[in-house]
Symmetry: C2
Subunit: 110 residues, 2 copies
């Protein structure tokens, strides 16, 4: 389970993969496999959540890491690399690295 908090001092990656709807579930399977087998063992990995767009055209990974250096070290690891290459062959990758600046909860009913 992922918890989003601006007080956590993590780095957040929101990586959007634009994909042909025919390939969406293959891409979900691929990103599931690489995360489960490699990424979650990497130093500095905190959590990630994989999202399937309802229109079939996107898959978005919301991931939290302790630092950019930890994330970059994982991206240099040769073991997950073939998975990333296959993902990039079937999708247009729009990466983003973020900090959480605000959080909003539902207002109590009046």
């Amino acid at each position: 389970m992922t918890t989003i908090s601006k007080d956590a001092y993590l780095i957040t990656f929101i990586n959007v993969f634009a994909v042909d709807p025919a390939n969406q579930s293959r891409l979900v399977d691929l990103l599931t496999k690489v995360t489960d087998q490699f990424v979650r063992y990497a130093r500095g990995f905190v959590s990630s959540s994989l999202h399937r767009s309802l229109d079939g055209t996107k898959v978005t990974m919301y991931a939290q890491w302790h630092s950019m250096a930890d994330y970059e070290a994982m991206r240099q690891d040769p073991r997950p690399l073939p998975y990333f290459r296959r993902a990039l062959a079937m999708a247009r990758f729009e990466p983003g690295s973020y900090e959480v600046v605000e959080e909003f909860a539902a207002a109590p009913s009046p």
Copy 2:
């Protein structure tokens, strides 16, 4: 605080605003104001978290709602509309609606 869980049966919006870095903090302020004053009071709103990209070029809202109908009803409300118009005047809006399909936690240390 936002909790991401595939068992929550919510609809997730991951809305990316591509922005000139000179306008990033104005856009954060605007989206903070509209969420704080209007959106969080809307029926079906669960939570949202606002993210500032480290390179200055994006602002991304991660928002959870009970249903698409609730979200669309809020978008029809005339009160927040001027804020959304101002946001769209300074940013390129890439909306996405999703379901959470997988969650990953860090593997325990060996």
